[in-house]
């Protein structure tokens, strides 16, 4: 098809491209379509441009070289094999879970005594009695454990001449945090080594 060179309305050629690309705002699009109805030159240019766009879209794809798939597969990265679970990591995780459960057992009496904050319909005599009884059992158990720990602490600090009662709670908390950090640090360290090894 021959491309006829025709004079165009001043400034309409760019608008024509925007119109064909569907990039004109609605109001301008309507105005341009009205213009097209009255302007033979722009209609001819529109036809010419649509023909050009159709010609571009007619690009017939060329066959690629035959070895692309072969080259791609030959250069593929090796598949990453998921590392097997590490027994040491599992033991560390199990240990941390056990410590967490122990902490919960010590903390439960405190939590259960908050029953007084429950909504009124929950505050029946039967539920109260049950919670009180259960709480008392756990409190006694926790008190025994705490007393034992405190006794050990007192013995240890007595030997080294250090007698600071709140220090027990601080030492417990500090020791647990340290154990958690070391445990997870070791887990992370072993996992990063595994990833480097399989790369």
């Amino acid at each position: 098809m021959a491309y006829i060179s025709t004079p165009s309305c001043s400034g309409q050629e760019e608008t024509l491209y925007l119109y064909l690309d569907d990039e004109l705002p609605l109001a301008e699009r309507s105005a341009f379509e009205s213009h097209l109805q009255h302007c033979q030159t722009c209609r001819a240019l529109l036809a010419e441009t649509e023909a050009l766009f159709a010609e571009i879209a007619n690009w017939e794809e060329l066959a690629p070289p035959p070895n692309i798939a072969l080259q791609v597969m030959a250069n593929m990265p090796l598949p990453v094999v998921a590392p097997e679970p590490d027994r040491y990591n599992l033991l560390l995780l199990a240990g941390q879970m056990a410590i967490g459960l122990l902490l919960l057992l010590v903390a439960i009496p405190k939590l259960l005594t908050m029953y007084q904050l429950l909504p009124p319909k929950w505050n029946t005599p039967e539920i109260t009695a049950f919670i009180v009884a259960g709480s008392e059992q756990l409190r006694v158990s926790a008190a025994l454990q705490t007393n034992w720990l405190y006794a050990q602490w007192t013995q240890i600090t007595g030997h080294i001449g250090f007698n600071f009662a709140p220090g027990l709670a601080v030492a417990l908390a500090g020791g647990l945090i340290l154990a958690w950090l070391i445990g997870n640090g070791l887990l992370l360290g072993r996992n990063s080594l595994s990833i480097k090894g399989s790369g």
């Binding site: 021959a2 491309y3 060179s5 050629e13 760019e14 491209y17 925007l18 690309d21 990039e23 010419e48 441009t49 050009l52 766009f53 010609e55 571009i56 879209a57 007619n58 690009w59 017939e60 794809e61 060329l62 066959a63 690629p64 070289p65 692309i68 798939a69 080259q71 791609v72 597969m73 250069n75 593929m76 990265p77 598949p79």
Partner: protein
């Protein structure tokens, strides 16, 4: 014969069956190769770019949305690689540069049967015309007409303002129309 969809292939590949990626390459290599070829204008570089595009796509396969079509995604990767190659190859070409001496690698289509000569000749003229465009105009024609990207997407891809995209696209199309007119 049952042909798995692209989404099914990608799912299997992500599940660990690396060999299925060969089917993806074979299915889309033509489109990816032609995307690269229209931009770099050289069959050897286009093949290298297509291979690199597939390798990059494999490494990024976990980011692909399974409900989207795979071919445009692959072609976009190839286009970006080709554009980077063009940027590295030469600085911005002036729109007034004389292109008459430029050597274009256009495959010889003259061995086609007689009945197809007219169509083949038109294709040769089209290939020649697009590959004759300066790289910056070729890029914008590729992104608009073949990748069907919006003006905003083109602006982002080429790091241009919206007004520059409009001006550059306008000039590229005018240029292409004039080249094709000369060929007739």
């Amino acid at each position: 014969m049952f042909e798995p969809t692209d989404a099914e292939l990608v799912t299997q590949i992500l599940a660990g069956d690396q060999s299925m990626y060969r089917l993806v390459v074979e299915r889309h290599q033509q489109a990816v190769y032609n995307t690269a070829y229209r931009l770099v204008g050289n069959p050897a570089e286009a093949a290298d770019t297509a291979q690199e595009a597939f390798l990059r796509a494999y490494n990024a396969l976990h980011t692909f949305r399974l409900d989207a079509p795979l071919k445009p995604w692959l072609c976009k990767i190839a286009a970006n690689l080709a554009l980077n190659l063009l940027k590295r190859r030469q600085p911005t070409v002036s729109l007034n540069d004389d292109l008459s001496g430029m050597v274009i690698d256009v495959p010889d289509l003259s061995t086609e049967p007689q009945a197809n000569l007219l169509r083949v000749e038109r294709q040769r003229q089209l290939h020649q015309a697009i590959l004759t465009l300066p790289p910056e105009q070729r890029s914008i024609i590729e992104l608009r007409h073949f990748q069907e990207q919006s003006y905003d997407e083109i602006a982002q891809a080429l790091n241009l303002s919206l007004s520059n995209v409009k001006v550059r696209l306008f000039r590229a199309r005018k240029n292409l129309g004039q080249i094709l007119q000369k060929e007739m």
